[in-house]
Each structure stands twice: as structure tokens, then as C-alpha cells.
């Protein structure tokens, strides 16, 4: 019994440092950061009052959530009223023309978050659908790589803001429809995101495909795998880790680009929220912008974790250290 207890203690003793490293140390880091923030914020005076400290930001995040609930309630009341009014109209005269309008209140902070997420995913998926096949083609064929490489290298460092005016003009010239499926401003930011999301995935996929173990390729040659089966059975599985490295970089780039694009394109979303608050210039504005900053960071982190989970599911290499 004594030995058993001592073994348990020993195990607990071994687990304790791990708990310390995983929980206590990061918590201490965050606490230290909040302290420094609090102290410095108090010493910065801007034309909109003191720079917000952690307490004001927390306060504003709560008030933003309350505003969201308020907006929801307003919208519900609006729909109720509209339904009642139309029902009355129809009761009086069954042939009456009734109008159904959607609620056009100010979008709340949470609505902006979802718009941003939707926009970034649209641009990211669009970019990946082009980038992965292009990367595979470049990785498999040296000639294709040589043809595309200069273009990739030149466009890769271009800032999204340089693309935006061009994208805006092209979208408004080409996307003409009476009943548009998407808002033009949405397409502007989504395409800008896509243009910037392309490159990391193309480059990493190319490197991954070109770096496949020669022996594995030779096995494919010896058994005479048809080209498409070769891609599906050998090329794709072996380059999955590199493809995901590219996808994660792309999504992170896309998320950063989106905020800037939304500020400029006036597309609803977190970027526009920040811009509006900045123009608004109330005493709460800085704290509200800081809420957005933290939210952007947290969502960026969450998106990366989601990609990591997806990679774990898809990749055969479960033992690889995923960071």
C-alpha cells in the first residue's frame, strides 16, 4: 500500500511541473501584460481622453454585447409590427399589395464579426481552389514552375491596399446584375483577400510536391500508376503537411488583409467598425476599438487552431509536432 501511494505521489509530482508550464506560466504572462497596459494607459492622454486600460475595454465589450441584444430586440419588434400590419391589410383587402421589408438597423458588433468571418472564408476558399492545383502543377513540372515563378515572386509582396482600387473598378464594371447575389463591397474585400491568400499556399504546395521522396515516385513509376491516380495516391498524401502550412499562412494573411480592406472598401465588418468608431470620436471610441483589436486577435488565433484541427484529421502523420 505504501509503495502504491508513493507511486501515485510520484506521478502527481511529475504532472505538477507540466501543469505549471501549461497553466500557471501563461496566466502569469497575461497578468503581467495587463499590469503594464494598465500603467502605461493611465499615462497616455489623447484628444479623446485617456488611452483605455483593461477595465474600460472590458466595460465596453459588455456594452457592445448589450447593444447587440438591443438591436436584436428592435429587429424582432420591427418584424412583428410588419407582420401585423400586412395581416391587417390582407384582412381588409385580399388583393392588396403588401410590402415585406428587411430590417435596416445599424449592424451590431457581433453582426460585424460574422460578416468579416464570412468574407474571409469566401476569399480564402476561392484562393485555395486556385492555389492548390496550381501549386501541384508547379511542383510536378519544372517547366510550369519556371513559367509561373517570376509572376509569383513579383505579386507575392504586393500590399492588398494596392489591389483594392483595381479590384473595385473591375468588380463594378463586370459584376452587373439586377438581382445581385453578393454586395459589391463584399466582393471587393473578398477578392482582395483572395489575391493575397494565393501566394503562401502556391509556394508551400510547390515546395511540398517537388520534395516528395524520389523512391516513392519511383514506386509509382514501376507499378505504372496513371497520372491522376499518381496525384491522388502519392502526391497529395505526401504533400499534405506542406499544403496545410501554406493554408495556415494564407488564412492568417487573409484575416489581416481583410481588416484593412474593410476599412478602405467600407464593406461591413470589423474593419469598418473600427473606422466608424474612429470617425465617431466619442470618449468610448478608443476602448471600443481596443475591443475590436482583441477580438481580431482572438479570432485569428481561433482560425489557426481550426486549421490545425483540420490538418490533424486529414494528415496521415499523426506523430508530427503541429505548432
Amino acid at each position: 500500500m505504501i509503495t502504491l501511494a508513493s507511486i501515485n505521489l510520484e506521478a502527481a509530482g511529475r504532472r505538477l511541473p507540466m501543469l505549471f508550464a501549461r497553466g500557471v506560466v501563461p496566466a502569469a504572462g497575461i497578468a503581467f501584460f495587463l499590469l503594464i497596459w494598465h500603467i502605461t494607459a493611465n499615462n497616455i492622454d489623447t484628444s479623446l481622453g485617456k488611452f483605455p486600460g483593461p477595465a474600460q475595454v472590458w466595460e465596453q465589450s459588455n456594452s457592445l454585447y448589450e447593444e447587440h441584444l438591443e438591436q436584436r430586440e428592435k429587429a424582432e419588434r420591427f418584424h412583428e409590427r410588419q407582420e401585423k400590419r400586412n395581416a391587417e391589410k390582407l384582412a381588409k383587402n385580399p388583393d392588396a399589395e403588401v410590402k415585406w421589408r428587411s430590417y435596416t438597423g445599424k449592424p451590431s458588433f457581433l453582426d460585424q464579426i460574422f460578416t468579416s468571418l464570412y468574407t474571409v472564408m469566401f476569399g480564402f476558399v476561392l484562393a485555395s481552389a486556385v492555389a492548390i492545383p496550381l501549386g501541384i502543377a508547379c511542383g510536378l513540372n519544372e517547366r510550369i514552375y519556371q513559367a509561373f515563378n517570376p509572376i509569383i515572386q513579383v505579386f507575392k509582396p504586393v500590399s492588398p491596399l494596392a489591389w483594392l482600387p483595381l479590384v473595385t473598378m473591375v468588380v463594378s464594371a463586370l459584376y452587373v446584375s439586377d438581382d445581385p447575389m453578393f454586395e459589391k463591397s463584399f466582393l471587393n474585400s473578398a477578392f482582395t483577400v483572395a489575391l493575397c491568400c494565393l501566394w503562401p499556399t502556391v509556394i508551400n504546395t510547390t515546395v511540398g510536391v517537388a520534395g516528395i521522396d524520389r523512391d516513392l515516385v519511383n514506386v509509382g513509376k514501376v507499378i505504372k500508376l496513371p497520372p491522376m491516380t499518381h496525384v491522388a495516391k502519392i502526391v497529395l498524401p505526401s504533400s499534405v503537411p506542406m499544403i496545410f502550412t501554406g493554408l495556415r499562412l494564407s488564412l492568417a494573411t487573409g484575416w489581416m488583409v481583410l481588416i484593412a480592406a474593410e476599412m478602405l472598401a467600407q464593406n461591413p465588418g470589423l474593419g469598418k467598425f473600427i473606422w466608424d468608431e474612429f470617425q465617431n470620436g466619442s470618449s468610448n471610441s478608443l476602448a471600443r476599438i481596443m475591443v475590436a483589436v482583441v477580438t481580431i486577435g482572438l479570432i485569428g488565433f481561433a482560425l489557426d487552431r481550426c486549421m490545425l484541427l483540420l490538418q490533424r484529421r486529414v494528415s496521415w502523420d499523426k506523430s508530427a509536432v503541429l505548432r
Binding site: 514506386v219 514501376v222 507499378i223 505504372k224 502519392i234
Partner: protein, 278 residues
């Protein structure tokens, strides 16, 4: 007279950015059906180049290789290759790796059930049935190489090409795999070309040992016929005069006559080392 495999005066020159390199010059070798041939020589002497040309993975600069009177121009399952580092797909199970080959090679000729049976049969041949569901990273190096051999045999090749198949294994595992290889060769009677660095392995397994001179412009230096009765017993052969004679011939060739030129070793030292070994 025609031969089963006719490697006819092949030369190979590689062209690189820093100039051209003549790897092989007029290598000539005739092999009969069912023969077990070892290629031995110092590293960089072009053994792998010969093997890759026979496999069809490299083309020749001049000359040609004929299998059953047909010229080899591309890789194919009739010349299965066992790679030094097993070359198993890490994302497929042991069964899956053999199945990938079987399903591609026998797509039109075997039914699903026949394929399954054939995969199981080949795994049993190398004693790997128990690990069919395991992933390559879960099994040892020797077991991986067994699977590599099973995959090659499952293609029903006319010619089995083995590129230093046991080079990366420890001595005990290597001995086990050599025994397995001999058993399979006795049972199936396939024609085998094996590259090796190991003199004992070459003598133990082969009917003929082809020794290559040092590159560049390597050629066939000497061929030793190993006239030992089969089945061969590792332990019994250790004392056998014929076995030791063959071994001596190969060692003489490798260490005295064709010492690797760029090592800068004193030839006398090698003679001393050699007599110690013998």
C-alpha cells in the same frame, strides 16, 4: 544465342551544370533465367546506375538492355524494385502498400477476391501476415523491408531488382532477411539482381558475383562464379573452402586491385587488413 536478360554494351553519361560525368562505359552482362546475380563494388562505381537503367528509371546514352528479347525503354512491373530504404507509403498500412501495387498491376486480370488472396499470400511469403493492419512507422526496419519485398514479389516480376536491400539493417535482422530471400528464391525461382556492399552476403546468396571497377567510366571488372550447392547453410559455409575461396576473390578485387582511388590509403595497409579478415 539469346539471353533472358541482355545488358548490351551500355554507357551512361550524366550532363550537369558543372559539366558531364561518364558513369558507365560499355557495361556488358548476360543473365539467364532464374539466376541470382550480385553487383558489388565501391560506392560511386555505378552499381545503382546499372540497376536503375535495367528498371527503366534511367535511360542509356548508348547500348541497350533487352529482357526476353524486348528492349527496355520505361519502368514497369515486370522489373520490380526493392529500394534500400523500403520506400513504403507512410500513409498506407502494410496491407495497403502491397494492395496499391496489386490493384494497379492486376487491375484488369484479377477479381477483387483474387487480389485480396494474392496480397495475403505475398505477405505470408515474407512472414508479415500478422502486421497487415499496421502502419509503417509502427514496425521495425527489417519488417518494413519484408513488406517492400512482398510488394515487389506481388507484381509477379520477370526480374527482381534489389538496391542494397539489407544495407540499412543490423547484422541479425540482415541474416534473417537473407535466409528469407534464399527461401523465396528457391521456391519461386525468380531472376534477381541485387546490389550489395557486403561480401559475405554476395557469396551466400548469389550464383554469380559481378564486380565493378571504380568510376568514372566504370565497367564490369571480374565475374566470380559461386558453385555452392543449394540450399546453403550459413553456419556450415563458414568453414567451407569453396565459400572462403570465393570470398577471397571478391576481397582481392575490392581491396587490392581496385582500391577506391580518392581515399588515398596506403595499399599495404589494405593487404594487412585483408589477411586479417581472411
Amino acid at each position: 544465342m539469346t539471353h533472358f536478360l541482355d545488358i548490351s554494351q551500355i554507357s551512361k553519361t550524366f550532363h550537369t551544370d558543372s559539366g558531364s560525368f561518364e558513369a558507365l562505359r560499355e557495361v556488358d552482362l548476360k543473365i539467364s533465367e532464374g539466376e541470382f546475380i550480385s553487383l558489388i563494388g565501391h560506392s560511386g562505381c555505378g552499381k545503382s546506375t546499372v540497376l536503375n537503367i535495367v528498371a527503366g528509371l534511367l535511360d542509356v546514352t548508348s547500348g541497350g538492355v533487352f529482357l526476353d528479347n524486348k528492349q527496355i525503354t520505361e519502368p514497369g512491373p515486370d522489373r520490380a524494385v526493392v529500394f534500400q530504404n523500403h520506400a513504403l507509403m507512410p500513409w498506407l498500412t502494410v496491407y495497403g502498400n502491397v494492395a496499391l501495387a496489386v490493384k494497379t498491376v492486376f487491375k484488369k486480370t484479377k477479381s477483387k477476391a483474387e487480389m485480396h488472396e494474392w496480397i495475403e499470400h505475398n505477405l505470408a511469403l515474407v512472414n508479415m501476415s500478422h502486421a497487415a493492419g499496421k502502419m509503417p512507422h509502427e514496425i521495425s526496419g527489417g519488417m518494413k523491408q519484408r513488406v517492400g519485398i512482398a510488394r515487389a514479389l506481388a507484381m509477379q516480376p520477370k526480374l527482381l531488382l534489389m538496391d542494397e536491400p539489407f544495407g540499412a539493417l543490423d547484422a541479425l535482422t540482415r541474416a534473417q532477411l537473407q535466409d528469407t530471400t534464399m527461401e523465396i528464391h528457391r521456391e519461386l525461382g525468380n531472376t534477381v539482381i541485387m546490389i550489395t556492399h557486403d561480401v559475405d552476403e554476395a557469396v551466400l546468396l548469389s550464383d554469380r558475383i559481378v564486380m565493378m571497377s571504380n568510376g568514372p567510366a566504370a565497367r564490369v571488372g571480374q565475374i566470380v562464379d559461386v558453385n555452392l550447392a543449394r540450399p546453403r547453410e550459413r553456419l556450415a559455409l563458414a568453414e567451407d573452402a569453396q565459400f572462403n575461396h570465393c570470398r577471397r576473390l571478391v576481397l582481392d578485387f575490392l581491396y587490392a586491385a581496385h582500391q577506391k582511388p580518392d581515399t588515398g590509403e596506403n595499399p599495404n595497409e589494405n593487404v594487412a587488413a585483408q589477411s586479417e579478415a581472411a
